[in-house]
């Protein structure tokens, strides 16, 4: 598998998550990765994009977000760059159950990204935010044999 890259610049409108999904789908089309692996990637794209819109740009639709996706032989990397306010990256795992129901513990999106990705790295560089998500492609991710839905 050779290195393939895709870059897209979108504004901070929720509907634009579909444009990023489309780029990811295009880049991963025909690649020997499982549906579960792809699903993890798409969920994390949604989490990262949501965080930027909600907590960075505070829903200001004109905010710009650059998304660069690179497919290497053994891993997939997604870089989100924006000029929103710096994020507060929660370090603690959110409390489960009832506390989440009462919205007492933010950070569910970060928690999900850390669980589904192999590496989540955030950096504030000058006036920009840079979030790098990396997901390895393990041997078991390279086929679809375990992709079964409940009947």
């Amino acid at each position: 598998m050779s290195v393939e890259r895709s870059e897209i610049l979108v504004t901070g409108e929720t509907k634009n998550v579909a444009l990023i999904f489309a780029e990811a789908d295009k880049l991963l089309e025909g690649k020997p990765v499982s549906r579960a692996w792809r699903n993890d990637v798409l969920v994390c794209i949604d989490e990262a994009f949501s965080n930027i819109i909600q907590h960075g740009y505070l829903y200001a639709p004109e905010g710009k977000i650059r998304v660069t996706m690179t497919l290497y032989r053994d891993y997939f990397r997604i870089i989100f760059q924006d000029t929103a306010a710096a994020y507060k990256e929660p370090r603690k795992k959110p409390a489960p159950g009832r506390a989440v129901l009462n919205r007492k513990t933010p950070g569910l999106g970060w928690h999900i990204m850390r669980q589904l990705m192999d590496k989540v790295a955030y950096q504030r560089i000058g006036e920009s935010n840079c979030l790098v998500l990396t997901k390895n492609i393990e041997a078991e991710d390279r086929h679809d044999s375990e992709d079964k839905r409940p009947e």
């Binding site: 998550v17 579909a18 699903n39 798409l42 949604d46 949501s50 129901l101 569910l108 999900i112 409940p150």
Partner: protein, 112 residues
């Protein structure tokens, strides 16, 4: 994202199909809120055709659960695909929801 409904006597069955992402979550939340405003207090959500769920979608279900509880209502989720169940599990929310393998058992649970 497609949302279909079916009334099973006193219970509203809601079928979600597609990707419940940040954008679609806002639309689905508005649809579910309208149902509550129309007097629906018992709901089963069938997720069999849901492709994925992120925290945006999870918060829709959490918000719905909270709203229904304040009206002495009930919510159950059923037929959850493995990928969607994985997100619920890693969020440690499985115990919060009334989860069933089939629509029938979800309906019985809500009526019980």
């Amino acid at each position: 994202m497609i949302l279909r409904t079916k009334d099973l006597s006193d219970i509203r069955a809601v079928y979600l199909e597609g990707r419940l992402d940040i954008h679609r979550s806002l639309e689905v939340e508005a649809d579910l809120d309208r149902m509550i405003a129309d007097g629906v207090t018992r709901m089963v959500i069938d997720l069999n055709d849901l492709e994925f769920l992120s925290s945006s979608g999870l918060r829709v279900f959490l918000g719905l659960l909270k709203k229904l509880r304040t009206q002495n209502g009930r919510l159950a989720l059923c037929r959850i695909p493995a990928e969607v169940r994985k997100v619920i599990r890693i969020s440690e929310l499985e115990d919060l929801f009334d989860i069933h393998e089939e629509m029938d058992s979800a309906v019985i649970s809500i009526r019980g």
